[in-house]
Subunit: 306 residues, 2 copies
Amino acid sequence: MSKMLVVGSVAFDTIHNAQGTHARVLGGSATYAALSASYLAPVQLVGVVGRDFPDEAVQMMRDHGIDTAGLEIADGDTFHWEGRYTDDLTARTSIRTDLNVFADFHPKIPEAFLHTPYVMLGNIHPALQMEVLDQIDRPELVVADTMNFWIEGELPLLRQMLTRVDLLVINEEEARQLSGKHHLRQVADALHTLGPKILIIKQGEYGAFLFMNEETFSVPAFPLPEVLDPTGAGDSFAGGLLGYVASRGDTSAETLRTAVVHGSALASFCVEGVSVNRLLDIDQERIAERVEAFRHLVRFTPPETR
Amino acid sequence: MSKMLVVGSVAFDTIHNAQGTHARVLGGSATYAALSASYLAPVQLVGVVGRDFPDEAVQMMRDHGIDTAGLEIADGDTFHWEGRYTDDLTARTSIRTDLNVFADFHPKIPEAFLHTPYVMLGNIHPALQMEVLDQIDRPELVVADTMNFWIEGELPLLRQMLTRVDLLVINEEEARQLSGKHHLRQVADALHTLGPKILIIKQGEYGAFLFMNEETFSVPAFPLPEVLDPTGAGDSFAGGLLGYVASRGDTSAETLRTAVVHGSALASFCVEGVSVNRLLDIDQERIAERVEAFRHLVRFTPPETR
């Protein structure tokens, strides 16, 4: 069991969906990733919140075994994002983004976190992602997330950052945008040349693909009877993924395959509730049950063995 | 090893794609399904062609063990479809559809085919699909394909047909259209109430889902390095699926799971070539290798067994 570090946003979200409005609920990439990972490995969190951030939320993270020594409390308000989902939850539009204290955020890694072997760089400015790597010892595995905003606006910095990343987690559409290719196998080949030896391409409601050396692994999204709120699903995926890797303490293809399933399991819980609500309501046994349900979902008997 | 019956279109296709124009190549739902199935089980074909249909194409089907006693040769020209694909092959537009002899087609099932246990009703008018069922003995399994054209234009007949079908193969988008639901689990529940006990929802380049009793099974699309022509992929899927079921001679969930993988394997070969070219270039060993590649693609080690 190794420790992991999560750097990213801690935020309030105001979410409009078919059920109504959920005002100023807990959100942020680091929040989702850290909570998801906390069921699998010890998590160290680095981020920033404002004076308006409730002590109870910090305490809740600590109750999940998350080390919040790197959660800076700055003068001002916490990052706030407001968005609206379509009724089928497949698309969303941002209504407003108030960066607040996040606008001047520069991650400061506490002394005690400098040697953490597994590191998750949440979806923040690539310059900030590199500031983290500049401060810490070379970890066993650096995982980074990114998005179209940085691909379009900060491509040179993003490419520089990618040369320092072992595992890139990226949405399919953005992977196509970054690679200029369509078919996943070609997308993966192109993205490998940018640096990351390991690629995980997220396909939203269709699951995820892992490309690693000559290995390819695919997992579907779990066919839930009901999805309430997709916010944070990708961050929960990344948290569950790295949490499992840290719990095993190795980065073999075998571990990465099962890690992708754990990421998918945590993402499937995440979307069952609004904000982090469902993620607070699970335990290791529930996660193990869902991983087993994934195994049953994709299992088949090869003809020759029957 | 049981026999199977395929009823559907036999056609010429003119296909425009990034590579250029492929004029009057062999196509049709029954052609793709029968050729794909022929590697797995004895196939009986029912369809219609015109006087312009080459003897060599009929002979090629016979060489694949397909019984063409039900392939009617009518006065006039063979069904001809012309369409253009986008460069990424994810969408296509029809340029022209000349039904020709297919306009007056009424399937006539030869005496020798009346007791076939496994029946594939290709994507044709639901009235014609029911004409087939009216003629034959109750099979072990009736599989039907359909499309938005019939959902929009012939809903009452389509619903009547569905009450007589055991297994519906349908595209995800059309499954949503027919059910009025979005999330697959809800789509499946709604479609089950229309009749089919077994549902296979095809997700194109994302794979397919099987819903059967309380069982759910998912298989990804094979991540090919290159796709040349998606025409006939769905029909090849259905043919490979039912071919495997016929080869096993049972309709258990275990058989259906592996059948879905065989359908996916045949579809993955289909798209590697233009028209049926790649389907003519494979053998049972190639199919077994690809099924094994699918197994490797989705395999992971549950944590508790390590």
